[in-house]
Each structure stands twice: as structure tokens, then as C-alpha cells.
């Protein structure tokens, strides 16, 4: 879905959109990403923003660029993203979740029960 929400900066949203495609296996190793212009036209966003996102992803080694050709998904992309997201999950999501649980007075047993029920489905 190419709609922008207000919460995160635009380039973060686009970065996550790209990472989603990689994580889900839709874009595998060596897959060529849309050009900067194509992506900016699809999202309705200035090409500079896309370019910055691609730069950032290149820095993180998720993608690499071939001069005159374009940007491609790197071999280790999926693993890198998963590693980083796991790290983020551990360092940020879990602590926040626990804090929320404490705030709302939800006990661990209750959470485990919900977890099992969800997993069955």
C-alpha cells in the first residue's frame, strides 16, 4: 500500500516498505529494485528522498548499486534485516511491551494464554 502515514518520517516508511518485500521473499538476492524515479513517482515523493533511502540501505549493505544499471538486493539482505529487526525487537519492542503490561496490569499468565490461543489459529 503506497499511502503515507504521519507517524514516521517518509524515508523510514519507504525503507520499511522495501525491507518488507525482502523479508517476505518477494525480492530475493540479486533482484533489481525500481529506479529512484519510478519509486518516487509511485509514492508521490521527491526523488531526493528515495535517493537518500537507497543510500542508507546501501550503507547498511542491504542493497548495492551497479553504476549505470541500478540498485540490487544483496546476498545477505534478508539475514541483515532480520538480525537488525530482532535486535530492535529485543532492545525496544519488548521493553515497551513489558512496560505496557505493567501499566495495564496484565499478568504474564494471561499473556501466555493469549499467545497460545493465537498460535493455534
Amino acid at each position: 500500500m503506497k499511502q503515507m502515514s504521519d507517524n514516521k518520517p517518509v524515508f523510514i516508511q519507504i525503507k520499511e516498505w522495501i525491507e518488507q518485500h525482502i523479508l517476505r521473499g518477494e525480492w530475493s538476492k540479486g533482484h533489481q529494485l525500481p529506479s529512484v524515479r519510478e519509486l518516487s513517482a509511485e509514492f508521490g515523493v521527491n526523488p531526493n528522498t528515495i535517493a537518500r533511502t537507497y543510500e542508507r540501505l546501501t550503507m547498511e549493505q542491504t542493497i548495492y548499486s551497479v553504476r549505470g544499471v541500478g540498485y540490487f538486493v544483496s546476498d545477505q539482505a534478508k539475514e541483515l534485516i532480520e538480525t537488525r529487526r530482532r535486535e530492535e525487537f529485543r532492545k525496544e519492542t519488548i521493553p515497551q511491551f513489558i512496560a505496557d503490561m505493567n501499566l495495564l496490569g496484565i499478568e504474564l499468565e494471561e499473556f501466555i494464554k493469549h499467545y497460545n490461543e493465537t498460535e493455534k489459529r
Binding site: P9, I12, K15, R37, A41, F43, G44, N48
Partner: protein, 274 residues
């Protein structure tokens, strides 16, 4: 491509709407012209287009003096007004009559843009709603492939889908040797699509800078030392996102620039150093 030197613009010499404007605008950029209503956005665009005589100073657009309205100059510039009236004829007749003066006009492109923006075909132009009027004017102007596109509040009267369609159309433009200036008082409508921002305040230009430079200025500078709460808003999306990468919340930044002198002073110092 555009150079303004000490420009005074307005309708009466005794009370200019814009004073001491010094601007240099370059190609391959989309400039957002931000300012409250009545701050001079329309005046500036009218003067750039050649419809309004400057009250003083120098103005040069693509090497021409706009007021002379030479045919070669007018051919390279398209102006989409905020309040506009279309003549009493059909869309086809309009294209027949007016595209004759625009050698680079492409009917295919115009229809493509109109379809993207969900234009209502088949109605006589003077009977169109405001939104449809704007869509037509925008589509015709962009399909003429001029080097300079001036848009005064183009999102006024457009619904959300059409605004998004317009952003996509603008994002997809090839801007080599071209530039676009979009004025708006709705920052959210244009913040994703612009690359640079020009802020008007109290009859003057207080900032002309790329978004990247603003982001750097806010993130790496001495801004933390300034106490006023308004600055904090400008930093809203900065820093905490992904380590050292930052993004400016343009609406908050714009408010901070309007309301805080310290912010303005800080920005003008940092930006001018570059």
C-alpha cells in the same frame, strides 16, 4: 535559472507586499513556497510570471525580464493560479486554441494527467467546479513541458486522492533544466514532494534552503542551547528515527520559523555559512 536582486514587489510603491527579496533558484528542484495567507506568495508568483510589474530591484528569469513578456519567455513558463477562470469553450477547443502557442505540448500527456487526477470530462470549461478547473489547468500546463512551472496553492479544492495523484505526477517529472515552485499554506500537502523550501514572513523571505541542509542544521547545530519550546517541535522527527539519519517535520519547522526569532536567527546563520 531565476535571480532576484533586492526585489520589491507589490501593487503600490508605498506599501510593497515583498521587500528586499534576494533569491537564486536553480534547476532540478521543486521549491515549496510557504507563508501565511496574504504573505506575498501570489505576489511573488505574479511577478515571476510577468503579470505584475516589480516596484524595485532586479528580476531575471531564464535570462529574460518577465515584464517584457517576450513570446520566447512566455513559452517556457506556465503559471497555474490559485483563483482561476477558464473561458467558455470545451476542453478540446481549449487545447486547439491554446496549444498552438505551446510547441512542446503533448495531448497524450494531458489526458494521462487528467485521468490520474480523476478529472470529469465532457463539461464545458467555464462550468467546471473549482477542483476540476485546477486539474485542467495543471494538466494543460504540465503537458506543455515548460522549463518553469509556477503553482499557486494547487491543492486548494482537490480531494485527498487527487492531491496524491498530483504528487505522483510531480514526482515523476523529469526536471533537468527545469524547476517547479509550489506555494501552499497547507504544509502537509507538499512536504513530501518538495526538495527545497522558501519561507515568507512579514513581507520578507526568511529562508531559502534545501530540506537536507535544514535537517543538518537542526541536527548537528547548537540548537539545543536555545530554550524556547517551539524549536523542539522542529526537531520532532530528528535523531530518534534511525541513529544519525534525520528528517524534518516541515510543519513544525515552519511554525517554529514563523514564531521564534531565535530559530530564524539560528537558521540564517547556519545556512548562510554554507
Amino acid at each position: 535559472m531565476i535571480k532576484l536582486n533586492n526585489l520589491q514587489a507589490g501593487y503600490r510603491v508605498k506599501s510593497p507586499v515583498l521587500k528586499d527579496v534576494n533569491l537564486t533558484l536553480q534547476e532540478d528542484r521543486i521549491y515549496g513556497l510557504l507563508g501565511s495567507n496574504g504573505s506575498g506568495k501570489t505576489t511573488l508568483l505574479n511577478t515571476l510570471a510577468g503579470a505584475l510589474e516589480p516596484l524595485g530591484g532586479k528580476i531575471e528569469v531564464l535570462g529574460y525580464t518577465p515584464l517584457e513578456r517576450k513570446a520566447k519567455f512566455l513559452e517556457q513558463i506556465a503559471y497555474i493560479q490559485d483563483e482561476l477562470e477558464l473561458p467558455s469553450m470545451s476542453a478540446e477547443q481549449f487545447v486547439e486554441s491554446y496549444a498552438a502557442f505551446r510547441p512542446k505540448f503533448s495531448n497524450g500527456d494531458m489526458n494521462h494527467y487528467l485521468k490520474m487526477m480523476n478529472f470529469t470530462f465532457g463539461i464545458r470549461l467555464d462550468k467546471l467546479s473549482l477542483g476540476n478547473c485546477k486539474k485542467f489547468a495543471i494538466a494543460f500546463a504540465l503537458a506543455s513541458h515548460p522549463r518553469i512551472v509556477l503553482m499557486d496553492e494547487p491543492t486548494n479544492g482537490l480531494d485527498i486522492e487527487s492531491k496524491q495523484a498530483l504528487r505522483k505526477i510531480l514526482a515523476g517529472q523529469d526536471l533537468s533544466e527545469r524547476l517547479i515552485i509550489i506555494s501552499s499554506h497547507q504544509v502537509a500537502d507538499i512536504e513530501d514532494i518538495i526538495s527545497d523550501v522558501i519561507i515568507l514572513r512579514e513581507n520578507r523571505i526568511v529562508l531559502n534552503s534545501s530540506l537536507g541542509a535544514i535537517g543538518e542544521a537542526l541536527q548537528f547545530g547548537d540548537i539545543q542551547n536555545i530554550e524556547e519550546p517551539l524549536y523542539v517541535n522542529g526537531l520532532k522527527a530528528i535523531g530518534k528515527a534511525e541513529g544519525d539519519y534525520s528528517d524534518v517535520d516541515l510543519e513544525s519547522f515552519y511554525l517554529a520559523m514563523q514564531n521564534s526569532e531565535n530559530m530564524r536567527n539560528y537558521l540564517s546563520k547556519v545556512i548562510s555559512k554554507k
